[in-house]
Amino acid sequence: MLSRVADSLYWMSRYFERADHCARVLEANYNLMLNPSKASTEERWHRIMASLGIAATAGGIDPQMAMIKLTSDPGEESSIASCIAESRENAGQVREQISSEMWEHLNRLYHYVTRANSRLETDSDPLRLLVAVREGSYQFRGVTAATMSHGEGWQFIQLGKYMERSCALPVLLDAYFSTAGEADDLDWVGLLASCAAFESYCKVYTADLKPDSMAEFLVLNPEFPYSVRYAVERMNEAIAAISKTSFTHETRRIERIAGRLRAFLAYAQITEIMTRGLHRYLKNVIEQCKSLHAAVHEVYIDYPIQSALEA
């Protein structure tokens, strides 16, 4: 497969996951903020920004404006609209590689989100948009899995999706746990909802919302799709599948980095992590993801010509 094509599929998928993540976080908080709380609206918005990894802006935050900015502002690079547009742009570069159904779904969602920009007037409009993005993303994933051949290209899509998730979840968790002292039960419900995890969590730990249990569930649970470990396991699978189809011996370097990250999560215990500091642990995960991303890029996408010729 052409490197450029693999790269476009990877980024199409990453941006799509990013839009989906942003929509989920905003939807969870939108509901949450309808309840009164000790924290001011502004403080809560600061946490939303932090949990999406957006640098805090100086000065106050206007809630209505912030919501519009993050959903449909094409000028804001973290907004859902921008991420969907980037995803579509990448898909457009490789239209003949993806199924036409995938293109249709992505295109439709793109038009929905970009046209919404001018229409967010009433109070409930943003919520409607968020729900549409969530449902659109379920459909896109389903269509992708059902209509595209599960070969190398599909593996790059998987890799992009879980790479993005492995990077986004630690940021979200860090934002919540760094302000854990002031958090009440409703805040914790917000965190779980941001990961579509409330029901699944309760099935394992009951409705007893203990920070340690939540951290354990969202970081180390091997079965829940929005846990860090689950995402890393899937990344490992995608990497193994890509290695099989590729002939460069450099793939071992990627497998080593991915395997180490997997072990870092698979053999960790939550008590140990909490004692040493969750923040440090999460930061470590993000660093490892970054080096994995860089290695994938160097081996498959933008390798030096010399190394490839010697191979």
Binding site: M1, L2, S3, R4, A6, G92, Q93, R95, E96, S100, E152, I242, T245, S246, F247, T248, Y300, I301, Y303, I305, A308, L309, A311
Partner: protein, 477 residues
């Protein structure tokens, strides 16, 4: 005339379907009878079905120079244009002869230059051609095949004879419309296909692939299609052909040249490329050899090509043979290399470099069509009878400023074929572009792209200027 043809006017133009008296020509009889018996709602329904099918397949093209929604559906007419087997046999013979002679001409121009030494063509006209590539001098190409893919535009004169209007020998496009419109027509008129005996064209992709493979060196045959990218007007076609042939669709940035060898970057490392079916113009293929500002090409490609390590199809420098001034010499070229008379003639052409011809044309601009020699797609031309005096004055100045850049031809009436327009059947002017492949042998799939000037009375068939297309049926016998 009877019902669906009640508004059908036959004028001086050759009518593809009707004889001058209004009786259908024999090879159109089946279609004619079908149309007589078909209720007009049925035609409407078919038209909608066809349009939807094109829309869903995303068969679009891009019009340059317009900001708003540049991607448009290619308009397709419902009624096929039919060519009898005898007419086709002549066309096939004529095009085979023509591409053979033009290839010999290119090989000669870039090597011995016998034709110039024998003063059949003035050397000046070759060396002043914008598309002459002096870098190609002495470069041997596989099988001496310069033109592997040609799209020759034919028109039919009022007396019924086909003539060549222009040769497109650089990167001719439109073949994907030919193939997709056939597919749609089969869904819509299955019964008519059964009755008429239409020769198939679906083998085009395989024929193109064999042509490209025949140019590959022994034992190595990685073939790719080089596209300028998604923003090119013909990107749909590039993706379509690559998929049909099962080859990689690459952009310039996917290729690297090392040690005069061309490789593509894949996730499995660098993979050697042997044949490039390039849909990028000469000017842009290599910034080191041609235009330095090109970001579409591959640095070093030309050296790899000259070293014989990669094949380009078409070869570089073929544009010298489809220059509109050199076009006027093609009958002489055919006689010179093959010793035969042209089977399919040229259109009478006036060279503006010739003083007498120039003065004659400039004095009678309202009678002529003036074309820039290196342009295509209907750009840079003046249609005398439909022009204003200001436009004529402007062209006169342009001709005098740069005579080598212009030729003139008499205004020709293209033949007309029945089209389904807003619920009625009316005649519209058409041309014909068959696609000629040349590798080990010459292959011409029976058919081509029939382009239609959709505006009533218009003679301009280019898609960028309001033209459409229709399916072309060549009958078995």
């Amino acid at each position: 005339m009877p019902a669906p043809f009640s508004e059908y006017e036959i004028d001086a133009a050759y009518d593809e379907m009707f004889r001058p008296g209004g009786r259908p020509r024999p090879h159109y009889k089946n279609l004619y009878n079908q149309l007589l018996n078909l209720p007009s709602e049925e035609l409407h329904r078919s038209k909608k079905e066809a349009d939807l099918s094109f829309f869903n397949q995303g068969i679009t093209f891009t019009v340059y120079g317009r900001a708003e929604s540049t991607e448009q559906i290619f308009p397709n007419d419902l009624l096929p244009r039919i060519i009898s087997s005898a007419e086709w046999a002549t066309i096939e013979r004529g095009l085979t002869q023509r591409i053979t002679a033009l290839n010999l001409f290119l090989a000669d121009v870039y090597h011995e230059r016998r034709i110039l030494k024998d003063r059949v063509i003035p050397g000046e006209i070759i060396y002043t051609c914008k598309h002459f590539r002096r870098q190609m001098h002495g470069v041997r190409v596989p099988r001496d095949v310069y033109i592997s893919v040609a799209g020759t535009d034919l028109i039919r004169l009022p007396d019924g004879s086909f003539v060549v209007l222009e040769d497109n020998l650089r990167v001719p496009s439109g073949v994907s419309y030919m193939l997709t419109s056939r597919k749609v027509m089969k869904q819509i008129f299955p019964a008519l296909f059964r009755k008429c005996g239409v020769r198939p064209i679906e083998q085009y992709s395989q024929a193109l692939f064999s042509t490209l493979r025949s140019l590959a060196p022994e034992g190595r045959s990685t073939i790719v299609l080089l596209t300028p990218g998604v923003y090119n007007s013909a990107y749909f076609e590039h993706a379509f052909l690559a998929r049909q042939m099962g080859i990689e669709l690459v952009e310039g940035r996917d290729l690297v040249v090392h040690d005069n060898r061309v490789y593509m970057r894949t996730t499995s490392g660098l993979q050697r490329v042997d044949v490039i079916y390039r849909r990028v113009d000469d000017d842009f293929v290599d910034p080191l050899a041609f235009r330095v500002d090109s970001s579409l090409g591959v640095a070093g490609l030309f050296n790899a090509y000259r070293a014989g390590n990669v094949v380009l199809a078409n070869a570089l420098g073929t544009g010298v043979a489809d220059d509109k001034a050199i076009y006027s010499y093609v009958p002489k070229i055919i006689r010179y290399y093959l010793g035969e008379d042209p089977v399919v003639d040229n259109v009478e052409t006036f060279l503006m470099t010739d003083r007498a011809q120039r003065e004659h044309v400039c004095g009678n601009l309202e009678k002529y069509v003036v074309k820039a020699v290196g342009e295509s797609g209907g750009y840079g031309m003046l249609i005398g009878p439909h022009s204003s005096s200001a436009q004529r004055a402007e062209f006169r100045d342009r001709i005098l400023a740069d005579p080598r850049n212009y030729i003139a031809q008499p205004t020709l009436t293209l033949s007309a074929a029945p089209c389904f327009m807003d619920g009625r059947i009316e005649p519209r002017h058409v041309d014909l572009r068959p696609y000629v492949l040349f590798g080990e042998k010459v292959t011409i799939v029976p058919g081509g792209l029939t382009r239609v000037a959709l505006r009533k009375g218009s003679l301009v068939v280019n898609s960028s200027q309001g033209g459409g297309s229709k399916d072309t049926w060549v009958l078995q016998n």
